[in-house]
């Protein structure tokens, strides 16, 4: 039985700000920019919310399904740390605007940046179990950023957007190694979102928990997978990426712990096995719940670029997902030529390059409205046309869902036509 990821796409917004502009605008220490290893961060616009990000990520996948295949989407799971309501799920709106069948389970899950991986693994297990042969499940990790100058050095690292993951029996993008996984979870408060309008974070505690969980997840993985070796089992690695520099530190730590490799040697290994996964995260920032899937997209679109196996070679990828609070997982799967072809159809490089570059003043002007994105106003009207100056500078080549406000707490949406 094969099960895994049949299709994958990301939506990373219509605007971005160069990280240097943000450092300069905030008066942050430019010497610390190198440590982040980031060039740009995606910035949401006030008419984008967790629903529009999710739908805009998934539409290109759903559009490629024929009607019979679409009817086999039996589970829709949204994973988010940007919930809109204590009761009503983001998935309920997404189900409507994607036009998925009524015979579909609809649910939302939460565990900071980890939840999407729990959902993907449960979906893979559902497909692999054979209880409903031919079934598909759509998992969408979707978030918005609630950071401003209070977040200090986390502000330039925080992205926004969504990753859509279609799970089924024909794993064209990632053939998941069934039964090969390791988990590690315990209670801690390293970062959290205690209200709809701000985040709290303890960067040292979060970094240590991330590193601690990686070591322990891999130990658990090794206990299930005979002969698994961090240095040789995986041709590539794709990890949850709070900022690219942290992934580099994590890789260095595991190389030291599990293989006794000195830092200089680890650098060469990092370039070959890890760097291809960081191109998109470095241009987007932390995609939160979708972060590890953005890293996987980056890897598949850059297979072989830095001396690793080419798309024609079947390559094993080790994936690490971490979510504050905390829960985490190390798992693996295979990618090949079909993965590269399937993902190329999503044209992610064009999407990222087409984002409008904001000035710091434009960015700062958007923040007050963005910070209200999740606040449950009974009635609110969002004037999409007020942002035409930014929209005109973004390259948009398809219809996009936009949030036009709320009416009696019910969120209202429209399709923005690109013509």
């Amino acid at each position: 039985m094969s099960a895994g990821i049949e299709a994958l796409n990301v939506y990373c917004g219509l605007a971005q700000i160069p990280v240097r502009s943000l450092f300069e605008g905030r008066g942050l220490d430019l010497d610390r920019m190198g440590n982040l290893m980031m060039r740009n961060r995606s910035v949401g616009l006030p008419f984008e919310d967790p629903v529009t990000n999710a739908v805009n990520a998934a539409v290109p996948i759903v559009d490629r399904l024929d009607p019979a295949e679409r009817d086999r989407v039996e589970i829709l799971i949204t994973s988010t740390e940007s919930g809109l309501d204590y009761s009503k799920s983001v998935a309920s709106y997404v189900h409507e605007y994607l036009g998925l069948p009524r015979s579909c389970r609809v649910v939302e899950v939460k565990q900071a940046c980890y939840a999407a991986t729990a959902a993907v693994q449960m979906a893979v297990a559902y497909v692999a179990s054979g209880v409903s042969p031919g079934a598909k499940a759509l998992v969408i990790a979707t978030d918005v950023a609630l950071v401003d100058e209070r977040a200090q050095y986390a502000e330039p690292a925080t992205g926004a957007g969504a990753a859509a993951v279609l799970v089924g029996e024909d794993p064209r993008v990632l053939d998941v190694d069934l039964g090969a996984f390791g988990n590690h979870s315990y209670e801690t408060l390293d970062s959290a979102r205690p209200s709809p309008s701000f985040d709290i974070a303890d960067s040292d505690r979060s970094l240590f928990a991330y590193l601690d969980c990686l070591t322990n997840c891999f130990e658990d993985y090794r206990s299930r997978v005979e002969g698994a070796d961090f240095a040789t089992t995986f041709d590539y690695l794709a990890m949850h990426t709070p900022f690219a520099g942290m992934v580099k530190a994590a890789h260095r730590k595991l190389m030291r712990e599990f293989t006794g490799t000195a830092p200089a040697e680890a650098e060469e290994d990092f370039t070959r096995r890890v760097l291809p996964s960081l191109a998109y995260p470095s241009a987007v920032g932390n995609l939160c719940s979708g972060s590890v899937y953005l890293a996987l997209c980056s890897l598949i679109d850059h297979l072989g670029d830095a001396g690793g196996p080419q798309p024609d070679d079947r390559a094993r990828v080790g994936l690490y997902s971490y979510g504050s609070g905390c829960s985490s997982e190390f798992f693996s799967g295979l990618v090949d030529r079909r993965s590269a072809e399937e993902l190329a159809a999503m044209r992610i490089p064009d999407h990222l390059a087409g984002r409008c570059a904001l000035t710091f003043e434009e960015y700062a002007g958007l923040l007050p409205a963005n910070l209200r994105c999740l606040v449950p106003d009974q009635d609110r009207r969002i004037d999409v046309e007020a942002y035409e100056g930014i929209l005109d500078r973004a390259r948009i080549d398809r219809d996009l869902l936009v949030n036009t406000g709320t009416k009696d707490y019910h969120r209202t949406y429209e399709w923005l036509s690109y013509e």
Binding site: N35, D202, F208, D212, M246, K253
Partner: protein
């Protein structure tokens, strides 16, 4: 394990992670942050020191360590 041995190991790793640092600036009363170590650097110093000393301390234990003296103290208690 001798406190001086632990401190010298911490110091050696601080200087490896921050090679431009004046060695005399690394003292028991200082903090890694004041020496210019960012969060990734601090994690590197801690994990490299544990490795050198042959200690395995759950890394989460280090979250309340704020200066070099408390780092040395924690490692000494686990040795």
């Amino acid at each position: 394990m001798n406190e001086d041995v632990i401190f010298e190991t911490v110091k050696r790793n601080v200087l490896e992670v921050l090679p431009d640092l004046e060695p005399d600036r690394v003292t028991m009363t200082g903090t890694l942050t004041d020496l210019g170590a960012n969060s990734v650097d601090r994690a590197d110093v801690v994990t490299m020191t544990m490795e050198d000393l042959g200690l395995v301390v759950p890394i989460a234990e280090f979250r309340d360590v704020h200066d070099i003296a408390s780092l040395v103290d924690l490692l000494k208690r686990q040795a």
